[in-house]
């Protein structure tokens, strides 16, 4: 049942981690239950909701349907890895300031999608923001405050250069 266990070597939020995992584990299961990085959430476990979104080499990816082995040789960034030593990522701060996280369960996934967007373009339009979030369901906010937060973070980041 448990299948076979093998060692996987991951680079997560800058740390190299070697851990034994059952070979049929997903990246999400490994992050949450093996590495105790519980920031990434699970809402459907089959690719429908976006709560488990992480960045694989900077690209938003659904970790619940990614076999853990696909992350080998790539850098994995989770919500825990967005903040720097000096404080939260501007997006994280603006999400708080703008009330963009109500229950907060969709938030880690949305932040990953948003962070990738802001890497691509420093001044996203509202339509671009909607497109970037179109695979992340949020049941609480109606998305409006999330757009506000992303716009505010973009402004802050471009002001900071």
């Amino acid at each position: 049942m448990a299948g076979t266990t093998e060692v996987v070597r991951l680079n997560v939020n800058g740390d190299t981690r070697e851990v034994g995992v059952p070979t049929h584990y997903t990246l999400l299961e490994t992050l949450r239950y093996v590495l105790a990085l519980t920031g990434s959430k699970q809402g459907c476990d089959k690719g429908d909701c976006g709560a488990c979104t992480v960045l694989l080499d900077g690209v938003p990816t659904l970790s619940c349907i990614t076999p853990v082995w696909e992350a080998e040789g790539k850098s994995v960034t989770t919500v825990e890895g967005l903040a720097g030593p000096s404080g939260p990522h501007p997006l994280q701060d603006e999400f708080d300031l703008n009330g963009a996280a109500q229950c907060g369960f969709c938030t880690p996934g949305i932040l990953c999608s948003a962070a990738a967007l802001l890497e691509r373009t420093g001044t996203p339009t509202r339509d671009e923001i909607k497109e970037a979030l179109a695979g992340n369901l949020c049941r609480c906010t109606g998305y409006t405050k999330i757009y506000d937060a992303i716009e505010a973070a973009a402004e802050r980041m471009s002001a900071a250069g």
Binding site: R32, D48, V79, E80, A83, F95, D96, G99, G104
Partner: protein
């Protein structure tokens, strides 16, 4: 209670960060499934593949024998019926002798991991005898007993498929209907929908049995190590043991007998030689049970766990980590919470169960499908005369909150418009489908849809603009409704005005080209139910506050933080009243071991009740501090103010001291500084008739929406461009959170209007009673690209009884979305949508009918000349 004006308030009324906001956005926030404990087992629940069947036998022996399996429980282990409403206990943690829907729980397994638990489920043999089932509420209500009812009839000769019938009449409905100038009558159907919080339900159970000689409390007294136990440490003496083969069911025996292996067996009287029960604790299972759960009602869960698992309630502890959304979907106990408890008791190990998304759809308790017939009359001037409603509620397999839902289906319609005569006749029936319950706007969203569409029709018939029509019928403030409920503040007219202005209504209504339309609707909702679910005189909400020498204030709050911001609310109130910065407040929350009872996050009660309780506690403390400072300065207490981190002498504010010093002065004078605060509802606000307490609330919120749509006449696709939401929340204590509730509500209503439906296959489509598609792919909730622009317009009526004048904002703003969209579709293409959802196929069918009837097109603008009767 008198209220300060806005200028006197420093933190209240201004947008604040949430105290757990950064934890949420950095991934540090802890939800139930984020917890893990040493030795933790994983549970899974076996579910019925039949919609209605007798359980003839359950054989778990093969499952128990599977390596890695630690325990299996079945219905026989917990044969105690429960139900959130004490008068309708009709379900069991696991089915005992009958299953009533596809997905009903039958047995549960705890194993070393989920894969093993799943494999064990396949080894459980259940023998069923299938029974004829009821899927259609009309069939259920007409059943003659020739096949078994879904539940036993309450009295011989009654229909066991009926949960509740309510028929109430106020004023002379027939007479006023007859004398009305215009009467409209229609059938409406509101499809069932479900909450779909993004977090699936999850619970963890832990059992610490008494040591063999411990006659109760001594052995298992618990020391709470850290501040918030939810952070994961196991405290106190650990009872976690390995499970030697063959002995695993005997682990954790409280009284030296292996009887605790099964809580049910253990519920027999303690065996000879067993320890004597301490006074007041009749429960047989001796030990301490802790359950962590993503629940929005820890207090009710606490009570039911104690009762069903037969553990002294003083030794049951419910911990509520942060909850990833609820919306009413986590507002009663669920099978997993009992199962983790029972399995932990049986194994002596912590046990976690996490629902799959599919199981969330089976747990359901979402919006009831309503079949409604409405007849509404008004006079020549558009004044409402009489309303007559007949409603059939499709309840699913269990009662849940159904008794209340049945009342709410009628009771909450009597504002914001004055209705001289009103009757409703509502019947809730059981069907063999997952149970319906309370979803955001419990029981009143469905009738509001029907009624507001009726109003639109009446306005049209009397040639009035629908906003003007609503204005004319305004019930006013500080009044009683026809069903005798007390209304206090009422900002509905301001709400109408706000949406009228913001939407550009006057230029758009009946004036945009064919295919584009605009619609309006209004509503009201309760700020908490006036009465608790089980009758008692105790407060509905309470907090405890404690001042530390450092200047910090700890607030112990049992309120349920489900994303709405109630933890921030109490921090804000403590800071406001005690003059400290908000980050000097620590909120210790959600743990029945140390937080006072709050009844839960339902019926929009939290801000109103918790807020008042927090004010009560904070003002008691403030008085102690102010008195001490006044004494010290030898001035009058009334001249001392706590603000901005200082105690100030109002006549000359250069005389001041840091608030910490003030706290120290007070502590020196009064001893350790702590206070409790509580809130209970006024008892004279309901109607004097049977059922007149249901729907009563200390205050009501009011809402108006305008929705603007585009309807594609070729496809039936409705594109909702914008929704303007004006909501009278009394006072917006934290405006950004209020807006968040308004936008989230409008979003959820919009989803129900256009796409959501919790539906089941029928016999012609696979198998009757099978959920149509229990996934977030096929149960569609709107994505960012679907969601309209949402504009929230806060209206503040300053309620005399709300905390600083506040009322609810979490559920009311959902109601008008749906009828506003329906009315906008009519304005766009002349098609009246009477059935939900307004999905493209159903609008397309409506368009086709209109095309055939020649009614397709832009409806005529209001004439206000004459009445076309």
């Amino acid at each position: 209670m008198s209220h300060k004006s806005k200028s006197d308030l420093r933190l209240i009324g201004k947008s604040q960060r949430k105290i757990e906001g950064l934890a949420k956005s950095t991934g540090r926030a802890v939800y139930t499934d984020d917890l893990a404990f040493p030795g933790m087992l994983h549970g899974k629940i076996l579910r019925s593949p039949h919609p209605h069947a007798r359980i003839l036998s359950v054989d778990v022996s093969k499952a128990e024998a599977l390596p890695g399996v630690h325990a299996v429980v079945t219905g026989a282990d917990m044969p105690v019926p429960y139900g959130i409403i004490p008068w309708t206990p009709d379900e069991y943690p696991l089915c005992v002798d009958r299953v009533r829907y596809i997905g009903d729980g039958v047995a549960a397994v705890a194993a070393v991991d989920e894969d093993t638990a799943l494999a064990a489920l396949e080894l459980i043999d259940v023998e069923y005898e299938e029974l004829p089932a009821f899927f259609d509420p009309v069939d259920a209500v007409e059943a003659d007993g020739s096949t078994p009812f879904i539940h036993d009839a309450k009295k011989p000769g009654w229909n066991g498929n009926v949960t509740k019938k309510v028929k109430l009449e106020f004023g002379d409905v027939e007479e006023l209907m007859d004398s009305s100038a215009v009467v409209v009558e229609d059938d409406y159907f509101f499809e069932g929908t479900t909450h779909t919080p993004i977090e699936p339900h999850c619970a963890i159970g832990m059992w610490e049995p008494d040591v063999v000689d411990g006659a109760g409390h001594g052995g298992a007294g618990t020391v709470v190590g850290g501040s918030i136990a939810a952070e994961g440490a196991i405290e106190g003496s650990s009872i976690v043991r390995g499970s030697p083969p063959g002995a695993r069911n005997a682990a954790a025996s409280a009284d030296g007998q292996t009887a605790t292996a099964s809580p049910a067996k253990a519920s027999a009287k303690p065996g000879p030689g067993g320890p004597a029960a301490p006074p007041g604790a009749e429960a047989t299972n001796r030990g301490k049970l802790t359950v962590w759960s993503a629940t929005q009602v820890p207090h009710y869960l606490h009570r039911e766990l104690s009762r069903v698992l037969d553990v002294d309630s003083a030794r049951v502890r419910v911990i509520q980590p942060l909850v990833g959304g609820a919306f009413g979907g986590k507002s009663e106990p669920f099978d997993l919470e009992f199962c983790v408890g029972a399995l932990a008791m049986k194994t002596g190990r912590p046990v976690k169960i996490l629902y799959t998304r599919e199981e969330v759809f089976y747990a359901h308790r979402g919006r009831h499908p309503f079949h409604m017939r409405y007849r509404t009359g008004c006079d020549q001037e558009g004044k409402l005369q009489s309303v007559d409603a007949k409603i059939l509620l499709d309840g699913g397999a269990y009662a849940s909150f159904g008794l209340v839902t049945t009342y709410y289906s009628g009771q909450l319609l009597c504002a914001p418009y004055a209705i001289p005569a009103y009757r409703f006749d509502s019947t809730r029936v059981y069907t063999n489908k997952p149970a319906c319950g309370p979803k955001r706007g419990h029981g009143s969203v469905q009738p509001r849809f029907a009624f507001e569409v009726q109003l639109d029709r009446l306005a049209e018939r009397v040639g009035l603009d629908p906003i003007e029509f609503r204005r004319r019928n305004f019930i006013g403030e500080h009044t009683r409704t026809i069903n005798e409920l007390r209304i206090t503040s009422n900002g509905f007219l301001e709400c109408l005005e706000a949406v009228e202005r913001a939407s550009g209504w006057s230029k758009k209504f009946r004036a945009m080209p064919f295919g584009r339309g605009i619609g309006v609707a209004g509503s009201t909702y309760i700020s908490g139910t006036n009465y608790p679910i089980y009758p008692n005189e105790m407060p509905q909400s309470a907090v405890q506050m404690q001042i530390d020498r450092s200047g910090r204030v700890a607030v112990f709050s049992g309120a349920s933080e489900i994303g709405q911001g109630c933890d921030t609310l109490v921090a804000q109130i403590a800071a406001e009243e005690l003059g400290i910065p908000i980050d000097y407040v620590r909120v210790l929350r959600g743990d029945t071991d140390f937080t006072p009872v709050d009844l839960g996050a339902y019926s929009s009660r939290v801000t109103f009740m918790l807020g008042n309780a927090a004010i009560d506690a904070a003002r008691k403390l403030r008085k102690l501090v102010i008195d001490a400072v006044a004494d010290h300065w030898e001035v009058k207490s009334g001249e001392v103010l706590l603000a901005g981190g200082y105690a100030l002498w109002v006549p000359d504010t250069s005389r001041q001291m840091p608030v910490r010093e003030a706290f120290n002065l007070a502590e020196a004078r009064h001893g350790a500084l702590g206070a409790t605060g509580s809130y209970n509802t006024p008892k004279d606000v309901h109607g004097e008739y049977r059922g007149g307490t249901i729907g009563a609330s200390p205050a009501y919120s009011f809402t108006a929406h305008v929705a603007e749509v585009e309807v594609d006449p070729d496809t039936g696709v409705v594109h909702v461009k914008s929704i303007w939401v004006a909501h009278d929340c009394g006072r917006a204590l934290n405006p950004i959170l209020v807006e968040g509730q308004m936008e989230g509500s409008a979003y959820m209503g919009f989803g129900e209007a256009l796409m959501e439906q919790q539906i089941y296959k029928d016999a012609d489509h696979g198998r009757a009673g099978l959920h149509d598609a229990p996934s977030l792919l096929d149960y569609r909730i709107p994505t960012a690209l679907d969601t309209p622009e949402l504009e929230s317009l806060i209206v503040e009526s300053i309620d005399p009884e709300g905390p600083y004048g506040a009322k609810e904002a979490g559920e009311g703003p959902l109601h008008p979305s749906i009828p506003a969209i329906a009315n906008a579709i009519y304005d766009a293409v002349g098609v009246r949508m009477t059935r939900l959802p307004f999905s493209a196929p159903s609008v397309w069918r409506g368009l086709n009918v209109a095309r055939e009837n020649g009614t397709l097109g832009k409806p005529a603008a209001p004439s206000r000349q004459g009445v076309e009767v």
